[in-house]
């Protein structure tokens, strides 16, 4: 594919309004060690992360891509049959520039188990792993994915000699912001009175311990018992008490990872599709990253409609299709009319997408943007990932 033979898709001209996001400068910058891709669900975050990883690796970076996704999408696009919480080398990449590409998928339960085994005393670790409350927490904790993604990112960062670039695909959360909020939420819980309430009876062996907290806490404890039932409350208390010894370390690491995200070696990319809701979410996320002082590199708008034929407006195309398609002409007239109608739809769609993207850029004029044209086939192999990478960098 030579540059001269490739007609400029008019959809990509939307970038005139916004500064261009220079992807090759970003992945070529050795000072950047972490790229976080975030955005709402279904916008192509995982594909963007994988395409960036592949491109960076083939340009000589030693890359690991961390994805957090139950649908195993990255596995498919990278031709891997299993992703099992351990980075695995991706086959078939061009290593001539000295780079490498590993990929992994987060298994949150296994990551949680590993944290428990690594940081609790052996006896306690077994006690925690066997606790019914823990078993529920580690597989369906609201936010477990986010905590564990942070934990895993921290672990990968520890093995810095193996990789010089970590690309993170954020969890498909209720909100993209959950990823950032996870450490704080955990922190406020750990510092809160509630955890002391939960740990107090187990620590101070029974009800006597409660006396020091006074009447309020007895009331709360009584209500909790009434609602949860004594047995569940007991499970919760045993769990929290057992975890208490390692929680501090857990929180410390989550805080450390959070700080790492705000440092200059990290780059956030917000990913969106050219649709109203996705761009609204992107806008919200950009504001939040700026408010938190996080290093935002730019916005990637995926799947911009491709218009190849130059200089034919949709209204003219439709008018002509109408005149051709009166049912009396030859087949070629029907075909020509079909081609014109298709063209009109493509141009209109691209115009609408461009308007939406420009609206984003008017609200955030300083944010660099990269536009990625839609491919006619879905992305599921290295070759199409390379195409996405080319388009990202164009």
């Amino acid at each position: 594919m030579t540059a001269a033979a490739q007609p400029q898709p008019s959809g990509t001209r939307a970038s005139q309004a916004a500064p261009r996001l220079d992807i090759d400068a970003l992945i070529g910058d050795r000072a950047i060690g972490i790229i976080v891709c975030c955005g709402s669900g279904g916008v192509g975050k995982t594909t963007t992360a994988a395409a960036l990883g592949l491109r960076a690796a083939e340009q000589g970076r030693r890359v690991v891509v961390l994805t957090i996704d139950p649908a195993r999408r990255l596995a498919q696009s990278l031709g891997l049959t299993e992703l099992d919480n351990t980075p695995r080398p991706v086959q078939g990449i061009d290593t001539s520039a000295g780079g490498s590409l590993d990929a992994m998928m987060l298994d949150m339960k296994r990551t949680f188990d590993e944290v428990v085994l690594a940081h609790a005393e052996p006896g306690k670790a077994q006690q925690i792993l066997a606790n019914p409350f823990y078993q529920a927490v580690s597989s369906s904790f609201a936010g477990t994915q986010e905590y564990m993604a942070m934990e895993k990112l921290g672990q990968l960062k520890q093995s810095a000699d193996r990789w010089d670039l970590i690309i993170v695909d954020t969890p498909p959360s209720r909100s993209a912001l959950d990823f950032l909020d996870a450490p704080n939420r955990l922190g406020s819980f750990l510092d809160g009175r509630f955890i002391r309430l939960l740990t107090a009876p187990a620590k101070a062996s029974g009800r006597a311990g409660l006396k020091v907290f006074g009447i309020g806490i007895q009331m709360v404890s009584g209500v909790m018992t009434k609602i949860l039932g004594g047995q569940m409350l007991h499970d919760v208390q045993t769990f929290v008490a057992a975890l208490d010894t390692m929680f501090g370390g857990f929180r410390e690491r989550a805080d450390k990872t959070y700080r790492l995200l705000s440092e200059d070696e990290t780059a956030f990319l917000v990913v969106a599709s050219p649709e109203r809701d996705a761009l609204r979410e992107a806008s919200y996320f950009v504001d939040r990253l700026e408010a938190d002082g996080m290093p935002l590199s730019g916005l990637v708008v995926n799947r911009i409609g491709r218009v190849v034929a130059p200089g034919l407006s949709p209204s003219r195309a439709l008018a002509m299709a109408e005149s051709l398609d009166d049912g009396t002409g030859p087949r070629s007239a029907t075909n020509a009319a079909g081609v014109l109608r298709l063209h009109a739809t493509l141009v209109r769609q691209a115009e609408r997408q461009r308007e939406l993207a420009e609206r984003f850029s008017r609200g955030h004029p300083e944010i660099p943007v990269a536009y990625v044209p839609a491919l006619s086939q879905d992305v599921h192999d290295l070759e199409s990932l390379r195409e996405v990478g080319d388009a990202l960098a164009e």
């Binding site: 609201a142 569940m232 034929a309």
Partner: protein, 333 residues
């Protein structure tokens, strides 16, 4: 397997992110509200998708009418909030008074709604359960007719739907006795009854279709009734099959198309002609892919309904258009 869900009063709508499940949930609610019925449309992720779709002010925790239908029906919107649901639940069942405030002060409410496993989801579904049981007179038992003829839930996406809907049985296992146990048990019974169906929204693209098929298996395994697959944003082919074959192979007859275009008054440059044929080739490849994906969906044996792509995006008028399409295709009787 039955494809008749006339018994269903709770319609749960899921789908991969980006497939337009909120729009489809809204259209389904409008369709169900025809003939003077009263429908609750609820969301549980605080996204304000309902108010944006119907172009009304953001929804609070109160049930608020968002639209009326021609036959005297109405759609009531609700953005379910876990914290509000928990406080309401505690008042309703325990008459807590001061203790409720204390729980909040001690962080117990935050713990329950953001950190404790599954509790948040139990509360969200619990609110839907409550609305479903509510009578017109506001009570939850008695002879008064149901407050809502149908409930549509804009549910979490396919990646999380199985866990979201099975959380009650997990909680029932955790809390082996007590009020939480029995509440979770009744909700599970409701979800597994034929009064509840889960519909999955998809696009004719590989990843959403694959997630749809996975979700169908997962939901069936969990004992839930899968209702229909709704294919959203469908575009009809612009060329007939013979022309698509030619376009795919890059063999649409250039000279005759060029002649036709000239006759219609287009100034045909080589760039324009090549560009148009290139667009036609991409279109043919896309149509192939879409047909493959539709065939995969058909293998599930579920009824499939198709909604057209609307060129100018979604506003309340377009939601009604989609609702009409669902009625015409027989999804809503």
């Amino acid at each position: 397997m039955t494809t008749d869900w006339t018994n269903a009063r709770l319609h749960i709508v899921t789908g991969k992110g980006g497939t337009g499940k909120t729009t489809v949930a809204a259209a389904l609610a409008v369709a169900l509200a025809s003939n003077g019925r009263r429908v609750l449309l609820s969301e549980v992720e605080g996204r304000q998708g309902i108010s944006q779709t119907f172009d009304v002010p953001p929804l609070g925790t109160e049930e608020t009418r968002v639209a009326r239908t021609a036959g005297g029906g109405e759609i009531v919107g609700l953005s379910v909030d876990a914290k509000a649901a928990l406080m309401e639940y505690l008042q309703l069942f325990y008459k807590l008074g001061r203790a409720g405030k204390l729980l909040e002060k001690f962080g117990a409410i935050d713990f329950a709604t953001t950190i404790a496993p599954g509790v948040r989801d139990v509360l969200l579904i619990g609110k839907i359960y409550e609305a479903g049981r509510r009578r017109k007179d506001g009570k939850h038992r008695g002879a008064s007719p149901a407050a809502y003829d149908a409930i549509v839930l804009d549910a979490p996406p396919t990646g999380r739907i199985g866990r979201f809907l099975s959380v009650n049985s997990e909680v029932a296992d955790l809390a082996r006795v007590g009020p939480i146990h029995s509440q979770a048990g009744s909700i599970t019974t409701m979800l597994e009854s034929d009064g509840t169906v889960v519909h999955i929204v998809t696009l004719l693209e590989e990843m959403p279709v694959q997630e749809t098929v996975e979700a169908v298996h997962d939901l069936r395994e969990k004992g839930l009734h899968v209702g229909a697959i709704i294919v959203n944003m469908v575009r009809p082919p612009y060329l007939d099959d013979a022309a698509l074959d030619q376009a795919r192979a890059g063999r649409l007859h250039k000279p005759s198309i060029s002649t036709q275009l000239s006759e219609a008054g287009v100034k045909v440059t080589p760039d324009l002609l090549d560009g148009l044929l290139d667009e036609a080739q991409n279109h043919a490849l896309r149509v192939d892919l879409e047909r493959e994906q539709l065939a995969i969906l058909e293998e599930t044996g579920l009824p499939i309904y198709q909604l057209p792509a609307l060129p100018d995006g979604i506003d309340p008028g377009e939601v009604r258009e989609l609702a009409d399409a669902l009625i015409e295709q027989g999804m809503v009787k």
